[in-house]
Symmetry: C3
Subunit: 326 residues, 3 copies
């Protein structure tokens, strides 16, 4: 869990945490302080964690967290050092606690800290167009260009030799060296993540970032959402064409090529040297191996092993697809 | 038919209307005044209406309109109070007459009335970014935010507690309370509606609006076109992800969830509590029931009854789809 | 090959060209000057050309070029007047030589020549919004409108009676008369063309333009990339809806209608009077005939003859598609 950009408002007293969940625990820990909310693996003894599915049973057994949001069924898996806090919906409660630690990560209103680049020290080091705005907590390396009307909102790190085009909105993003971002992109906004509740959905926090590695190119009109509890990552030398949508927590490997209008749903992982044809879609929470080729228009709804070529909806082996569709 | 934003230039004399159609009618009504053009049901005796398909036979029989654009075959269905005006192409003629009453509804050129928000009274009541423009006939409620470079063009009503992001263009739209619109959206432009004519198509008027109900969220890069003769509606607490296209006259119910890159073609109606997966498409003039789930990538080309889960292209029952595609 | 906008930095001495390719040729031509790089058909005796596939054998035999990048196998097809330059990868070498003649055609950084329209002579002849920027080498005809925040970058010709909306970025584009471009479009950027090379891809030059003929309409959020060695063309009176992506070198005929979210991959040719439904995709290098109808959501992966209706993925005869999917 990486959240370099969102201020942790902790620590909070255990009693405060408990009250916000509307549960009561007979416990002597009320005065204990909790410093952060983390996943089962990353937590230390000062943290609260969460455990909502038995598929995490093995890591749950070893968590170092002192407190864990979980269910009546799962709580028996936790070690002695960890006090189970049984709640009705683990993910909703996790969201609530995360919101307490990171209140700025929930809503993405426009950045009120953004000012004209002419009023910042970047005016001397960046090659920039008209009407460029820069928010707080931004750093920009050497030999960078930023085009007209682009808004670098708060919490952005840009490396050396980057070319950012016009009309972009970027926030909560780390861009490494020699990256090109063309025009009309929106990068680093929160993902499409919320708990559906009748009449008024509950948004959950997005404390992750977008990380774009060296030598990438991002086409026009592309959207890349930042991660919720992890980061959204575009690997080195990966090229994205126009009008692509990359959802929260997606991780794409190196040297991959993704054609226009592709969409990759939340939390899917794409390997290295992957080629994805235009308009293909990848469902959420999938694993696409290395050296995979996905034909244009495909709909991928299952994991794809390394070195495989697929096509179709749902995507299957490309030879099979072409044979079935002579 | 609702057209709060387009000025009705009527009434017009019956003789003027007849002349514009290039038909001749031997009739004593020449000096009569016509106040509006409406559908068969909404028309009053001062209005002209249109009747182009026998599927509207039953409502045609009861229309209160004094004049009706129709065909030689259909005219016998009209009541005695209604004079049939037989034309070659009912919809083209309807378009021509609507253009006479509502000339501003045809072309969507940039809004020349838009000025800097700093030069409006909203500078004191709205929390706004750099370079925000506001057109004529705009109202904005309490506690609203409008991001950088956003253009609120003419004919927009925004309720309370709304957050509009950056780089948006919005016109002819009513936004209710607590709505979030992220970045790079275009909302309220005319739809993709015209009569194909060799060398120079004929655009038809769009006198409808976009209505976005309470608690909605609209993702980045989304386009929502206003209605032609009715409105385009996004129901309460419905969330739209990034890069979605909602065409003219579409009506989406409450508490629905629509994932990235979905497209809904003109005049389709989507119920309440509907979930639509990424990149799915819905053809025009369909009816999608309540509590429907549509799998990602689906292509829906038929109506879907309530409480149904579908997937595929064309979309069918999801169990069938998964069985056929093991 | 048309490249009205990119300056040819030639002529170059044959020896300079040879050196850049890292090949050695025992030849007396070292002091010869080469004026341009062109395809096999367009080349004159002052030019260098390229020949990479035997399907161009017949035109290769007749080329007037004095030099030709090719392979050991293909070189025997060339006429006596043409010296074969055998290289490892013909297209990579072609790209390198093109980059030498046209260095400005490789990277699309923001246009540093763009200034406020208020500081140009267009302030007296164009009807324009706030914050409009105009680059060098732009011409605009009579009776044109340009909306707020739109950037007409360098190398743009706009005819008479055109309406350009807001938030657009346009470069390297010829727009004929009576064209409407709505909002948030990016037109004329280089295409998604490069040679994949581990760790750092090699972009190839795009010396073509975008040509939009009379009476076209381009919807919101649409991207149209300029051609690499030829032009990207939208024919007369063709209408594009919102969020369409047109890749490099695509040519679309007259009077065609393309619905929302369609994508057409590189170098495909679409005929006249073609109708394409929403979200359909067309693979690269295909030929779609005249009077073709492509159903919404289709994935076209083969050529389509004139007067055919297709649907499906892969697209097939629509009657067959509907019969197979009752």
């Amino acid at each position: 869990m990486s959240h370099p950009f969102f201020k942790n408002h902790g620590p909070f007293k255990f009693s405060e945490i408990i009250n916000s969940l509307n549960i009561s625990i007979d416990n002597s820990s009320n005065e204990n302080e909790i410093y952060d909310i983390k996943d089962l693996v990353s937590s230390t003894k000062n943290d609260i964690t969460f455990f909502h599915s038995k598929k995490y049973k093995d890591v749950a057994k070893k968590t170092k967290a002192s407190f864990c949001l979980t269910t009546d069924v799962l709580k028996t898996e936790l070690p002695d050092n960890c006090l189970a806090l049984v709640v009705k919906n683990v993910l909703v409660s996790t969201s609530k606690i995360t919101s307490i630690f990171y209140p700025e990560s929930i809503n993405d209103n426009f950045d009120e800290t953004a000012i004209s680049i002419n009023d910042t020290h970047f005016k001397d080091t960046v090659d920039f167009g008209k009407n460029v705005l820069i928010g707080s907590n931004v750093s920009i390396g050497n030999n960078c260009k930023i085009g007209h009307n682009t808004i670098i909102e708060k919490n952005v790190v840009i490396g050396d030799d980057c070319c950012i085009g016009s009309n972009n909105v970027i926030r909560n993003t780390v861009v490494k060296n020699n990256v090109k971002i063309l025009d009309n992109c929106t990068i680093g906004k929160h993902g499409f993540g919320f708990f559906p509740i009748k009449d008024k959905n509950l948004r959950y926090p997005h404390i992750g970032i977008v990380l774009i590695e060296d030598n990438c190119e991002i086409g026009c009109g592309t959207t890349i959402d930042r991660g919720s509890m992890s980061n959204t990552i575009i690997g080195k030398n990966t090229y994205l064409d126009n009008q692509i949508h990359i959802a929260h927590n997606v991780k794409i490997g190196e040297n991959s090529i993704i054609a226009g209008q592709v969409g990759i749903a939340g939390s899917s992982i794409v390997g290295n040297n992957v080629k994805i044809g235009g308009q293909a879609g990848i469902s959420g929470h999938l694993k696409i191996g290395n050296n995979v080729e996905i034909g244009g228009g495909s709909g991928v709804i299952r994991d794809i092993p390394d070195n495989t070529k697929v096509m179709g909806y749902p995507a299957k082996n490309i030879r099979e697809f072409l044979r079935d569709n002579k």
